[in-house]
């Protein structure tokens, strides 16, 4: 017996075309961690970014992609409290259910928020590390900034984090300049995560690294993001990096967001001309 013969051709059913009532059933209760409303920062026409809005929830990874000069890095700086936008507001959930405008607080308050809740991973690791301080010191310094004082504890935590980012603990007293590029980048990540930020901003964290080193770093970031339930905004021009790490993607061109959505939807079914060009320009593996 073969019941597959029971063909139902439902395609002809056209008379009842009224849409069914739907509700927003999946209740995702958490409030946004970060929101930007119509922010703009233009150094010159087409230079910077223009009228960007976004919302980021706890544990969510958002990738901002686009070619050089599309305003990605400037946008990241504005989102992370480092460049005040000319227009619009950037709001952060400092205490539960209360959003505070990052650029309406005092400089000191903003620095406090950034120190306590944000991590910032620069493309060039030495921009985010202190060259004259040992690896352990680079990690410990962040702990001391948020109030840790016990030397033994700080050193223990530094060791734990070196292990977490796959750096041999025996290198704890070495200077970061003696490390390879990949190790420096992992040290920068450890320095940022040791204080358990809620939100990490990354600017091309794998740029300039060898492919094999890149894969290791990406895998590490992926695991840490999941284990620590981090929210991340990552700027990258590499679509494969976005696909591997990000839940959502935002495509920028000349300072404007041209398309955004679920990562695999945007990459597999790009709708804007520029996204189609980006996706089709990647060599197939």
């Amino acid at each position: 017996m073969n019941n597959a013969q029971r063909v139902t051709d439902t395609n002809t059913d056209t008379n009842e075309s009224k849409p069914i009532q739907t509700d927003n059933v999946i209740q995702l209760t958490s409030a946004p961690l970060l929101s930007a409303e119509n922010i703009s920062m233009l150094y010159a026409p087409g230079k910077g970014f223009d009228d960007v809005s976004l919302t980021l929830y706890p544990g969510e990874v958002l990738a901002i992609v686009g070619e050089s000069g599309s305003g990605k890095t400037t946008l990241l700086k504005s989102l992370s409290g480092r460049v005040a936008p000319q227009q619009g507001s950037v709001n952060f959930q400092q205490t539960p259910f209360e959003m505070t405008n990052l650029y309406e607080m005092s400089e000191a308050q903003r620095r406090g928020v950034m120190r306590e809740h944000f991590g910032i991973v620069h493309q060039h690791p030495m921009d985010g590390l202190r060259a004259r301080v040992s690896a352990g010191g680079n990690i410990g310094e962040r702990l001391m900034e948020v109030g840790a004082r016990h030397y033994g504890d700080i050193r223990e935590q530094a060791k734990t984090w070196l292990t977490a980012v796959e750096i041999d603990v025996s290198r704890i007293d070495d200077m970061p300049l003696t490390f390879s590029g990949g190790m420096q980048q992992r040290l920068q990540i450890a320095r940022n995560l040791v204080t358990h930020p809620k939100l990490v901003f990354m600017d091309e964290p794998t740029g300039g690294l060898d492919v094999s080193v890149q894969a290791r770093l990406l895998d590490l970031i992926r695991n840490l993001v999941r284990e620590l339930q981090l929210a991340v905004v990552i700027v990258t021009h590499d679509l494969a990096v976005a696909r591997l790490l990000a839940d959502r993607i935002m495509v920028m061109k000349q300072g404007k967001v041209v398309e955004s959505g679920l990562t695999d939807r945007v990459l597999d079914d790009p709708r804007h001309a520029y996204t189609q060009l980006l996706v089709s320009s990647v060599l197939q593996q």
């Binding site: 739907t22 927003n24 990406l218």
Partner: protein, 231 residues
């Protein structure tokens, strides 16, 4: 019996902006209902939009018109208008996906890949590991490969790792895009057993199967696609 997923009047056209704005209509007026415990097979010739329809059901393709309704208790969620994070939540708990290609994640072993959806749903390592091992064993993936990253595996081995991953959780809805495409008959039979078991526990399955003998074994109903829409 009420459907657990309904696609209603679904339309989709690709517009290729960089190739003279060519319009490729792929889905037109598609309607289907999916029920628990049965396997619906999308049937039609190459280019008739089977894969596009399946991808739309997963939220991987965005439709231009229509609704993709998923039942959540007494209510319906429309995937066509849902927020990305709602779709992510749905994929974690409700809709499973098995394609013919494994997207390899650098450095992850075959066993880790299969365990991942379980761990993401809060299942403990101790529970997830034996389940993953039994799936890999059932699909004849040699034990010596379990702890290796699948980048160097053969196509069929990668596909079976992918299938094990797709069946690791008891998703209420399972979408299968030619899961047996590069498998021999013996391994295909193993996949059919997994499909039958999933149906028996009440999963709703929508699939595309190239081999007619597989189709005949698993299909409860066929959804006939229209013939390719020509310009």
């Amino acid at each position: 019996m009420t459907a657990i997923m309904i696609a209603k009047d679904v339309h989709k056209t690709f517009v290729l902006h960089n190739q003279g704005a060519v319009q490729l209509p792929v889905l037109k007026q598609q309607n289907l209902e999916i029920f628990a415990g049965e396997c619906l097979v999308l049937n039609g010739s190459s280019g008739s939009g089977k894969s596009s329809l399946l991808r739309s059901l997963y939220g991987n393709y965005e439709i231009d018109q229509g609704q993709l309704l998923i039942r959540q208790g007494e209510q319906w969620l429309d995937m066509a208008t849902a927020e990305p994070r709602q779709i992510i939540a749905l994929r974690r708990t409700t809709i499973g996906w098995v394609s013919q290609f494994l997207r390899v994640i650098p450095r992850l072993s075959a066993l880790d890949i299969v365990m991942q959806p379980m761990l993401e749903n809060g299942i403990t390592q101790a529970e997830a590991k034996p389940r993953a091992e039994s799936l890999l064993a059932h699909l004849n993936v040699p034990e010596r490969l379990w702890h290796l990253a699948p980048a160097t595996f053969s196509g069929g081995e990668q596909q079976r790792v992918n299938i094990a991953r797709g069946f690791a959780l008891d998703y209420p809805i399972l979408l299968l895009d030619e899961p047996t495409a590069s498998l021999d008959k013996n391994n295909t039979q193993r996949v059919i057993e997994l499909i039958e078991a999933a149906k028996a526990r009440g999963a709703a399955i929508v699939g595309i199967f190239h081999d007619s003998w597989v189709r005949e074994q698993v299909a409860d109903r066929l959804h006939q696609m229209q013939e390719p829409i020509n310009q």
